[in-house]
């Protein structure tokens, strides 16, 4: 199944996990302690986040730590910016059209 940033952040639990690991790298157990859902459910969420590279795994000693990857989040901003550019272009054209309408009327 395809994984990407948007799918990942669409889920509230995953957003909560992201905000946890954004503060500090954490082990899966430490993450799971913050949630009422089962450990398996939490590790599924972590898997999604890892697959879309929003979090990275790091092996320290024998423990796996998960840490936030801010670079990936920039994709979201980029996309919003692209869409914004299209709409602004469109609306600036509409400004011009409306101005002409006004001139015709007066």
């Amino acid at each position: 199944m395809r994984r990407d940033v948007f799918q990942a952040i669409a889920d509230p639990t995953r957003r909560a996990i992201l905000s946890l690991v954004a503060l500090q790298a954490m082990t899966p157990n430490a993450i799971a302690e913050h949630f009422n859902s089962s450990r398996q459910a939490v590790s599924k969420h972590i898997k999604v986040l890892t697959e879309c590279k929003l979090v990275n795994q790091e092996l320290t000693g024998r423990k796996i730590y998960y840490q936030y990857n801010p670079q990936k989040m920039k994709e979201v901003d980029t996309w919003i910016e692209q869409l914004r550019a299209i709409w602004e272009n469109r609306f600036n054209q509409l400004d011009g059209v409306l101005k002409n309408l006004k001139n015709k009327k007066s």
Binding site: D4, F6, Q7, P12, W79, L83, R84, I86, L98, K102
Partner: protein, 169 residues
Amino acid sequence: MKKETIFSKDPQSNSLTVVRAFDAPLDSVWQAWTDSEILDKWWAPKPYRAETKTMDFREGGLWFYSMVGPKGDRLWCRVDYKTIEPNKSITNTNMLCNEKGNKSPNFPIMNWRNEFNQSSGGTTVRIEITFEKEADMDIVIKMGFQEGFTAGLSNLDHYLSMNSEPARS
């Protein structure tokens, strides 16, 4: 003076909201959104231009148009009007289609709700675009990423024809 476009995305409800104020009275703005001759003048983002094939602005009616690129490439779109409250709101569905108006199989349907409000010295338009499912938003977003949305419009036909199978990876 340029007005700011407020743009927000809510992944939880699979929706995008765009809000923009216009320095014009409500009836003019309404006209600009509902009269195809005027729509053709501004609806397509540059370097595209919109060209209406048919317009039937009523509940259950259809706006069938294309966006024509600088090289003459054409992207067909249709807007099906669901509800219309004059000078107030329009709800419709938006989709890409072929030159006969049949929906492109791989492009999701977008549900739009446009609200028009008189504001101090002008008119505010609020557009909420909702996708039926998360995966639909995903497709539109993917297209934006991979093609670079503005330039990507010209590649959309190509993209759609290349992706007649559901994406797999």
